[in-house]
């Protein structure tokens, strides 16, 4: 007996009645089985209800693909209620990655051309949601026809469907561009909204359309003006603002049309000023319009007074109590900070206050904006603020904040000491969140600032003594102590409090780092090397260090073990070399953006020049380049030339040196006939060898029918070109030359077997011989 099928509501009741997930699954599986059976039996009256149920369970996340064919059947049915569910099913179950979706194209076509309005609407809706490129191409003409329908309901849907089609198949823009002019004259807001969206899409896709639509700027201005001034159309107004959605869309389109175009911008200026001053912002709708206006003003070529007004409006919004408004204000300011930096700077204090917001969205925006506002004049104050933010901020933002501070410090650091201090503070606060290259950067920085070595090593030592858990900090500190341990012991340094440190304390600290389970293997490596370096810097005996090093000779970590063993060897067999090997490191070369920034700084002489020989050569080269390029303000052109200069310091500049010529080789001699081989290796193709075989005759008799053949081992390729002739006149007449091309991709030793046949002194001669003593340069 067939059970009567449940209505949708009843099924939902049942599902809600299920107490556990498993029970729910059971109910749904049972029902799906019924539905499948019903689909198989094909009862048309119930199909609609079954599909509705299926869509419900699909929303809950259960598989429903077996309903796809049913959607097609329902769409094809003449009843409206069937079509409604069928189209809904199509939108939810079919997508363009399944082949089945193409099957509805025909139904949609029929419905578009022959259906009543609601049916046409359904078809358009489905087309705009799941329409793939093929479907759009097929149905473009139908949609175009509907653009001119008398019914505004269908027309507005057709316009938005056109937008979707253009997104999928950009070539269709040609079809949908002409109707726009007429559609703009409509009074129906829905159609206008769709048309503006359509025009916006067209303009964003092709510059030609953009030019075309600049003509309608006056028309758009008129429409907007009507909306703003007349207290009209209460149906469309929200909170007293007439149709804010349409206003926002028009403003956006005006922005696109007015960008970089004086004339259009001119036409909009008055209207924008009017909207900016007259819109009531006590409600959300007004604020939405005002924001769009501000963004438009900033993007087009507007009058300077208007721009100031716009930024001030944003500033006012920043102080608004409504959080949504503040969020949008921060976002808008972030967009403007690149182009109108000084205007946004005025609001810096407010932005910094927003950092303290408990609302995560707001504080994130405030962080991005604050980082963008850092410049050389406010860097100290801003970094202070950002540091305190870093200490309190949620973990998601820590990494961004830390790297932002480090980047800002690198770009705008007023002094090296401040820079080192800042990085140190960031490392202590948020050490685990910094980027990997922070350690390298800091060591580079310290290494370069010779006058600050003592200061750095003290600061780092104290920081390390307090806390050995932050890995980047520990790594830098270990390196520094290793390099400059002698300065640490000296005891006096004007810049920090006097710190009396004994050798033993330092060694003990490094040993702690080595043994701590918090230390990463890389950190241990740093510590071990530092200990080793201290063996030359400190003057006490090295027993303690030796002990530690020999212990680690049996460490499980391969890297550490290797180091320890090598250092051990250094103590024992190579003790005489130890001092030289463990000398202070020279400054490493830096690559990337930091390089030319650093070079720029040094070129400007902002800080005392380091004295390592390589960098002073760098400086000299820079001076030359500076003179020629007229100043260090242009890091970009400086960089490639700098790169070349640096790269060529040790070697000769220019192209690789030409290869030395290879000597000729005489391979055969008989009764005055000589065969000589000359070699050439063209520089472009390393595997190619060109051999010219020259045969000369110094005897009294002619040589005729001279043929030379050659063979090479298997891995080579040989090409014999035609000889210049086959007769050698007597007494040093014109020689015969023949070119042999040998390709030697494997760079194997070249051996050549030659066979000569000729007539000489009335006899025919045949000679076969191998040439083994070819010079090395021919095949290497």
């Amino acid at each position: 007996m067939v059970m009567p099928s449940l209505k949708l509501q009843d099924l939902i009741e049942e599902i809600r009645g299920a107490k556990t997930q498993a029970q729910e699954r059971e109910v749904i599986q049972k029902e799906c089985a019924h539905i499948r059976a019903s689909f198989r039996d094909g009862d048309p009256l119930l199909r609609q209800r079954q599909l509705a149920k299926l869509l419900y369970v699909h929303m809950l996340g259960y598989p429903a693909h077996f309903g796809q064919m049913e959607c097609l059947k329902l769409i094809a049915s003449p009843r409206f209620s069937d079509k409604r569910v069928g189209y809904l099913g199509a939108m939810l179950l079919l997508d363009e990655r399944q082949d089945a979706h193409l099957l509805i194209t025909n139904s949609i076509k029929n419905d578009l051309s022959q259906g009543v309005q609601p049916v046409q609407a359904l078809a358009l809706c489905t087309l705009s949601t799941v329409g793939s490129a093929e479907m759009c191409r097929d149905l473009a003409s139908e949609v175009e026809k509907l653009l001119l329908e008398p019914s505004s309901y269908v027309r507005k849907k057709a316009v938005l469907t056109a937008v979707h089609m253009i997104r999928k198949v950009p070539e269709l823009s040609n079809i949908f561009l002409p109707p726009c002019a007429q559609l703009l004259r409509e009074r129906h807001h829905g159609i206008l909204l769709g048309t503006i969206t359509l025009i916006t899409e067209l303009c964003e896709r092709s510059p030609a359309s953009l030019k075309h639509f600049r003509k309608v700027v006056p028309q758009l201005v008129q429409i907007l003006r009507t909306l703003v001034t007349s207290g009209c159309s209460t149906e469309h107004s929200i909170s007293g603002v007439s149709d804010p959605f349409l206003q926002v869309q028009i403003l956006r389109l005006l922005r696109i049309l007015g960008q970089n175009h004086e004339e259009s911008s001119e036409a909009m200026n008055d209207l924008l000023a009017q909207v900016a001053t007259n819109t009531d912002t006590s409600r959300n709708a007004g604020s939405a319009v005002l924001f769009e206006t501000v963004l438009t003003i900033m993007d087009i070529r507007s009058a300077p007074g208007l721009r100031v007004l716009a930024v001030n409006i944003l500033g006012r919004f920043l102080l608004n109590s409504d959080k949504n408004i503040r969020y949008v204000a921060l976002t808008s300011l972030l967009r403007l900070v690149q182009s109108d930096h000084s205007a946004v700077q005025r609001h810096r204090p407010t932005v910094v206050e927003c950092l303290q917001e408990p609302d995560y969205s707001l504080s994130r925006r405030a962080l991005e904006l604050s980082l963008a506002l850092v410049n050389s004049s406010n860097v100290r104050a801003m970094t202070q603020e950002l540091q305190s933010f870093l200490e309190a901020c949620p973990p998601d933002l820590r990494a961004d904040c830390a790297s932002g501070i480090l980047l800002a410090a690198e770009r705008f650091a007023p002094t090296k000491r401040w820079h080192i201090d800042t990085i140190l503070r960031v490392l202590t606060t948020a050490g685990t969140h910094v980027r990997d290259d922070a350690v390298a950067n800091l060591t580079q920085l310290i290494g370069g600032a010779q006058e600050l070595h003592a200061y750095s090593v003290r600061r780092l030592y104290s920081a390390l003594a307090e806390d050995i858990s932050q890995q980047p900090l520990v790594q830098v500190a270990s390196w520094c102590i290793g390099e400059y341990g002698d300065l640490l012991l000296e005891g006096s340094c004007e810049e920090t409090e006097p710190l009396q440190v004994e050798e033993e304390e330092v060694l003990a600290l490094l040993e702690r780092v080595l043994q701590s389970h918090l230390s990463l293997p890389a950190t241990r490596g740093y510590a071990l090397t530092a200990l080793m370096k201290l063996s030359t810097r400190f003057h006490g005996d090295n027993n303690r260090i030796r002990q530690v090093v020999s212990i680690y000779g049996s460490c499980l970590d391969l890297e550490l073990q290797q180091r320890a063993v090598e250092y051990n060897a250094l103590f024992r067999k190579y003790d005489h070399m130890r001092a030289a090997i463990l000398e202070k490191m020279p400054l490493a070369e830096r690559s990337g953006p930091q390089a030319e920034e650093q070079a720029e700084e040094e070129g400007r002489g902002a800080s005392p020049a380091p004295t390592e020989p390589k960098t002073s050569e760098l400086l000299n080269l820079l001076d030359l380049l500076d003179d020629s390029s007229g100043g260090a303000q242009h890091p970009a052109p400086l960089c490639p030339s700098l790169g070349d200069a640096v790269g060529c310091l040790p070697a000769m500049p220019g192209a690789p040196p030409p290869l030395a010529p290879i000597l000729d080789l005489r391979v055969f001699e008989r009764q005055g006939l000589q065969l000589t081989l000359s070699f050439e290796r063209p520089s472009g193709v390393p595997a190619l060898l060109l051999i010219t075989a020259t045969a000369t005759n110094s005897s009294g008799s002619d040589v005729t029918h001279f043929v030379c053949q050659a063979a090479v081992p298997k891995s080579f390729q040989l090409q014999l070109q035609a000889p210049s002739g086959d007769t050698l006149p007597a007494q040093g007449g014109l020689p015969i030359t023949q070119l042999l091309r040998v390709l030697n991709p494997n760079k194997a030793p070249l051996r050549l077997k030659l066979r000569l046949t000729y007539n000489h002194f009335g006899q025919s001669v045949q000679e076969v011989f191998e040439v083994n003593n070819l010079p090395v340069e021919t095949w290497q």
Binding site: L8, I12, R16, L45, L55, M59, L60, G61, F80, S81, R84, L88, M91, L92, D95, E96, R97, P118, A121, C125, S128, T129, V130, Y153, K156, K157, L160, T161, V163, H164, H189, G190, L193, G194, T234, E235, H236, S237, I238, S239, G240, P244, F245, V248, R252, N284, A285, S287, A288, F291, E292, N324, R326, Y327, V328, P358, D359, Y360, S361, L362
Partner: protein, 206 residues
Amino acid sequence: MIKAILIFNNHGKPRLSKFYQPYSEDTQQQIIRETFHLVSKRDENVCNFLEGGLLIGGSDNKLIYRHYATLYFVFCVDSSESELGILDLIQWPEQHPKQVGSQQVFVETLDKCFENVCELDLIFHVDKVHNILAEMVMGGMVLETNMNEIVTQIDAQNKLEKSEAGLAGAPARAVSAVKNMNLPEIPRNINIGDISIKVPNLPSFK
């Protein structure tokens, strides 16, 4: 454009999910879960905007949401939409008496179509909610914001369905017939012998 419209309750159970870009079913469910996870962490008095989760496209996309009692209404949009505009699209009607022109669109339209909508209405009439939504947003773009238009169209479509329903629709027609009846004064208490029937106070059905 609007990438997705999601309605789910305080426990993350989806009440409506509409995607305007092709995602596989698994991805859709994951997106719903991820969005619920992000949105449920928010306090009550913070702003209504969030960065989108990774599945929905990351920080280029935003989640604009509103929380009413037991339901979250979430619109996932990309950077081409105005955030405050979309917020207006979702808004709940103001608490003060209805002024002319204080209409906000989606939730209020639902309210009008279902007569004081609550979560149960959305649960039991998902298909109707889809239809209403389809009148407002099409293909990821805002289609119509005039509430009266939308309601008129929905009514016309419902009428069309009912007229097709034939015999099977008789019960529905009976209900609507009763609804449209103009009832005279009804005695509140009918006392027949020892049976006392209290007639409930039915609201007028206009």
